[in-house]
Amino acid sequence: MNPTSGEDRLDEALRRLRRTRLSASPGTAALVLGAFRAHHERRRRRRVAILTSIAATLVFVFIAAKLLRPTAVPNTAEAHFIALPYGESGVPLEEGVVIRLDLPAADLAQFGVPPSLRPKSKRVHAEFLIGQDGMARAVRFLPTQKTNSFKE
């Protein structure tokens, strides 16, 4: 075929142009691939950083929850006050306060608690009834739990 008109030449040239194999160079492919790797490396690092901070936050929250957990209030429903020998001073109990103490069992002797009544544990949680004269009149022992009472 020997195209003579402009239209023929155009058709022929377009056909040839369609047959040309044009493509980006291997250098461009390498650059794009490099960008892909860098992109995913950045994403991986970001993901690790996010996971690390989430883990750190969870650990912090767990520890904080442990430390700040509200202390259980001892169950005093079943415990009864036991009169202390030193409390029988003859002064009638007109008013008094109850204080809760966490103290070594050995120290109970100072309050006149007889050995037979002392708990076996090393530390005890106890409530003391203090009369208006400042003397401990009675004591009751609480179940061994963590309390937010004063520690001796």
Partner: protein
């Protein structure tokens, strides 16, 4: 272990895999579409180095924003060409007419074809590059990539009638520029 990639995998599937870091999937997408993007860019701007840059930018944008492609709105290739079109237009805005005059494409034809038809292809390339950009895009899409008018209209964001009329006018201009010397008397490819 990354999922294996098959040649039958759809673009959407490959894109999902590459989004999760599957290099083979991304490479498959690149190999599948880079030539179309390069071809469009090269024929529209006439500069291979710009076409390379456009291919690079298009695929980097694809990996940075894979969710921007919505399969229900069209094919991935159309999406990539759309991106390439915007980038080429930006480059063209930066290029002076003197730059366009001096450019040539490096066609990877078989040696015989290249040897025997180089002059004619050069003349055609020069003629295409002399067209207004909107005409050039239509010629590249419809006459070189051979996509139908409707797809071209979607790609260019205009009516099918506009594509037809632009193509008609563009072809008339190209035919006039490629008219043999003895017929036109003005010299083919030199009247740009």
């Amino acid at each position: 272990m990354p999922n294996p990639v098959s040649p039958d995998d759809t673009d959407a599937h490959l894109l999902r895999l590459s989004e999760s870091g599957n290099e083979a999937a991304f490479l498959a997408l690149y190999r599948r579409h880079q030539a179309a993007v390069f071809r469009f860019a090269a024929h529209t701007c006439g500069r291979t180095e710009i076409a390379e840059e456009v291919v690079q930018d298009v695929f980097i944008s694809l990996l940075s924003h894979p969710r921007a492609f919505q399969p229900e709105r069209g094919s991935l290739e159309a999406y990539l060409i759309g991106m390439a079109r915007n980038l080429v237009r930006r480059h063209l805005a930066d290029m002076s007419s003197r730059d366009i005059e001096g450019n040539t494409l490096h066609c990877a034809e078989t040696p015989l074809d290249l040897f025997s038809h180089d002059q004619e292809l050069r003349a055609l390339q020069r003629a295409i590059l002399s067209l207004p950009v909107s005409y050039r895009e239509v010629v590249v899409l419809c006459d070189i990539r051979e996509i139908d008018y409707q797809a071209a209209a979607r790609q260019l964001g205009c009516a099918v009638g506009t594509v037809r009329s632009r193509l008609h006018r563009a072809r008339a201009i190209l035919a006039r520029k490629l008219r043999p010397r003895q017929v036109s008397g003005r010299g083919a490819g030199c009247a740009l």
